[in-house]
Each structure stands twice: as structure tokens, then as C-alpha cells.
Amino acid sequence: MARKNRPLPEINQSSMADIAFMLLIFFLVTTTMDVDSGIYRKLPAWIHDEQEPPKIKRRNTFIVLINKNNDLAINGEFAQVSELKDRVKEFILNPYGSDDLSEKDDKFVEGIGDVKRSKGVVSLQNDRGTDYGAYIQVQNELVAAFNEMRNDYSVAQFGKTYKALSIELQDAVRQVIPTSISEAEPVEI
């Protein structure tokens, strides 16, 4: 054929930009950039038959109660959310060895050695009518208290913030200050 030797005409690329723009706009419109974040919590395993809850001494429990009007009570006394964090820290750390705050026992933690660990448990109780928002506020303060204690401990022990520590040391610090929050079944108050 006569055509055979004719070179293939070059494809016109001027519309490439338009096509790319169209795709770009599609993705721009459909994109949602929000990152999911939240408070992590490990639920206790479900036990079939009713077991007696472990006995904990009164001084080792820190009872936080939210009623259906979203009021907060610490150990039976009315309190504000803003003071919760410091109260929890005081309870767990018990800096002056007070008799009505949590006891401590010895524990060996790999990477740190023998430490005194608090036996304290924060018990979070709520009513069925409590608002979820209020509940999360309280949860947040509790988690913040534990995070701050870990951070303070890391700075005192290693001179670094908790986040700057290696994974192993973070684990060790978590063992020294475990997140001891117990979420009881709700009660009708």
C-alpha cells in the first residue's frame, strides 16, 4: 500500500491537561480528609456465669459517679469535672502516703526494675440516663490523668516525655502506671 511508509501522526496531547483537570476536580470534590480519632478503651471480657467481683479495699477505690443530670460525684461528694484530673492523680500517686488514698505494692518491671505500683482502681459509674457527651468528658479527664502521670514519670525517670520514649520503655511505663479504670454496669440512681 501506498500508506505503509507514512509515519503515524502524533497524538495531540493538548487535551491531556483537561482530562487530568477533570479527574482532579472529581477527587477534590469527593475527598474527605477527616482522620478518625477517639479514646481507646479495652472492654473486660464477658464472663458467662455471675462471678463475685474481686474484693478491693475501700481506700483503693476511687468512685466517680455521673447521674442522669450529668452531675459528677467523687466518692459520694459533689464535684466538678475540672478538678477530676488532679483528684485522680493525687489518689493514684498518693504523694504523702495518706491513709485514705491508694496503697502501693512492689512490682518488678522489665527495663526499669523494682517499682512501687499503686493498687488504686478508678471506678466509673453512670446512670442509664446520663448523656454520652458528659460520659466522654469524664472518660477524657480520667485518661488525661493517667497520660499525665505517665508523662511525669517518664520525665522524672528518663528525662524524656512519654511520647519520646522507645516502644519497650513506653510499655514499661504503662506497667508502672496501668490504666486502672473500671466501668461498672450502670445503676438506676
Binding site: 496531547q13 491531556m16 491537561a17 487530568a20 483537570f21 479527574l23 482532579l24 477527587f27 477534590l28 469527593t30 475527598t31 474527605t32 480528609m33 482522620v35 478518625d36 480519632s37 477517639g38 479514646i39 481507646y40 478503651r41 479495652k42 472492654l43 473486660p44 471480657a45 464477658w46 455521673i66 453512670n126 446512670d127 442509664r128 440516663g129 446520663t130 448523656d131 454520652y132 457527651g133 460520659y135 466522654i136 468528658q137 472518660q139 477524657n140 485518661v143 488525661a144 497520660n147 499525665e148 508523662n151 511520647k163 466501668e183 454496669e185 450502670p186
Partner: protein, 160 residues
């Protein structure tokens, strides 16, 4: 230096070459393609997540299953009322459906990944804790113990 001076009319600014425009656009395109997460579910409940400061980012989206709790959107209120409802996937569900949902979600994952499966509980801040507590109980029964209370990040009052 006469060599460099031009004679005759002063020429206009030469047109900017647009040859690299597609490249730039493609670069942007790839960025958005990678950063995009498509919406997977149609929200049927109104959600206003509570605020918190101590939030942790959810990593590995593939390991996360969602439970939505909130009051139905206006168009569903005639049928479902205004009380808080649970939404699993694309439909309103009952408490008793959670067990099956967890089992189904677990089936979808690799055997290795199953223990790492996380439940993200996206609940409206005005939901009553009674419902949340029931959901938690169902999750415990289904032994889906890794729970994330989904919340918006609040930056004030944070020391970090």
C-alpha cells in the same frame, strides 16, 4: 557590547510554556487520589461527636468496623421516630443485630488480623448512656473488646 542590543521593535514577553501543566495537574491528582477516602456508608443518623483532648488516631482503616448511634435524620423520623437508633452498615438495626454484625465483620478479615479488629463507636453526644451500655454489653458478648469512642479533637486545655 552592541552585540547584545536588539534592533527594531521591542519584542513582547514570550508566552509561558504550558507543556508542564499536565504534569503539575497530575501531581495534584495523585496526591488527592492517595489522600481520598471514599464515603462507604450513607449516614441515616445525625451525629455530633463529643469532644475530647486525649484522642488517639485510628490507624489501619481496614481493621476498623463502625457502629453509629444517634437520632434518625429528619427523612427517617416518620418511620423510626426520634429516639436514638443504632446504624450498622447502611441500615437501622436492633441491639440483637450487633452480634451478627461483629461476626460478619470478623469473617471479612484475614485470620491474622481478626484479633486486632477495632470497633469505632460513633455516637451522638446526646445519646443516653443506657443504649451505649447495652451496646458495650453486646460487644463484650461478641468478644469484640477493642473499642474506640470516636470523638472530635479539642485542643484547648491540652498540655501536649
Amino acid at each position: 557590547m552592541a552585540k547584545f542590543t536588539r534592533k527594531g521593535k521591542v519584542k513582547g514577553v514570550p508566552p509561558i510554556s504550558t507543556a508542564s501543566l499536565p504534569d503539575i495537574v497530575f501531581m495534584l491528582l495523585f496526591f488527592f487520589m492517595v489522600a481520598t477516602t471514599m464515603k462507604e456508608t450513607n449516614m441515616k443518623v445525625k451525629l455530633r461527636l463529643p469532644e475530647a483532648t486525649e484522642t488517639v488516631k485510628l490507624e489501619k482503616k481496614s481493621l476498623v468496623s463502625y457502629i453509629y448511634v444517634g437520632s434518625p435524620m429528619p427523612q427517617y423520623q416518620a418511620q423510626h421516630g426520634t429516639l436514638s437508633k443504632i446504624q450498622l452498615d447502611d441500615k437501622f438495626s436492633k441491639l440483637s443485630d450487633i452480634g451478627d454484625y461483629i461476626a460478619a465483620e470478623r469473617e471479612k478479615r484475614d485470620e491474622k488480623e481478626r484479633p486486632k479488629m477495632t470497633i469505632s463507636l460513633k455516637a451522638d453526644e446526646n445519646t443516653k448512656m443506657g443504649l451505649i451500655q447495652d451496646i458495650k454489653l453486646e460487644l463484650r458478648k461478641a468478644s469484640a473488646l477493642k473499642l474506640n469512642y470516636s470523638s472530635r479533637k479539642r485542643y484547648t486545655n491540652s498540655k501536649y
